[in-house]
Symmetry: C2
Subunit: 149 residues, 2 copies
């Protein structure tokens, strides 16, 4: 692209900066659409995952969404404080704590869903339908290849 002389080892622009930039921009769009519902895209994602995942533990959910468990712990906290999520010790193994949506949590998710859909639509429209699908496929594939052994 550019910067040839200064970067001897750079035969390719920084992949990391591109991914992070895009993540910032895309997150911003989703956050704006979800803001009227009082949720961030991160929080909405946690609610959605708990909903489809049938009471996952912190560790299970963290692995599924490829996030550090400590980060997930903290992401869940404001949702617990607002009564959208409960975290109850597993009966069989009291170390594990299982996540579940409350009634209010389910409602909050369903109410915010149009906001998510609007954001998704805006982004996929801006990128083009085909490019969006391709991007998602490439990112999913990239994630698999980048997963630690």
């Amino acid at each position: 692209m550019s910067l040839p002389a200064q970067f001897p080892a750079m035969n390719l622009p920084c992949i990391c900066s591109r991914v992070r930039r895009t993540a910032r921009r895309v997150s911003q769009i989703y956050d704006r659409h979800l803001e009227p519902y009082g949720l961030t895209i991160s929080q909405f994602g946690v609610l959605a995952q708990i909903r489809i995942g049938g009471s996952p533990s912190i560790g299970e959910l963290a692995e599924r969404i490829v996030m550090d468990p400590t980060t997930l712990t903290r992401s869940v906290r404001p949702l617990r404080q607002r009564g959208l999520v409960v975290l109850t010790p597993d009966a069989r193994d009291r170390r594990t704590r299982r996540l579940a949506l409350t009634e209010a949590g389910l409602v909050a998710f369903q109410v915010a869903l149009p906001g998510w859909a609007a954001a998704q639509h805006e982004v996929s429209r801006a990128l083009g339908e085909d490019a969006s699908k391709m991007l998602v496929l490439r990112l999913d594939e990239a994630l698999v290849r980048l997963s630690p052994p």
Copy 2:
């Protein structure tokens, strides 16, 4: 892909979650490679941009790297505290403050460059050279299309 019944509006899996996940994973790889040099990929990126950008202001640099100026202000702070970067008021317009590398900052950047290169190599190797280039191109294009008017 999946989740059809629960997600009426979802004819495509969430783009945002994919981009964020990938950003987390990729950042982690770069951060690990840069950790011995005492820099995060974010900080390394700021040093690199100041280096090639000839004393940009906070606002200019924030726009160039598509980051909120307030975030950049805070990212710069630890670099200033460590004496790698200086922030001096512009002579012509005392509102703007111009970023510059110190001698120590330049050295720190050059010393850490092999760490960055190793991370870049690991990622581009995992994805495949062609896929990496394609991904960067797609992300650059996506960013343009997603930019606010």
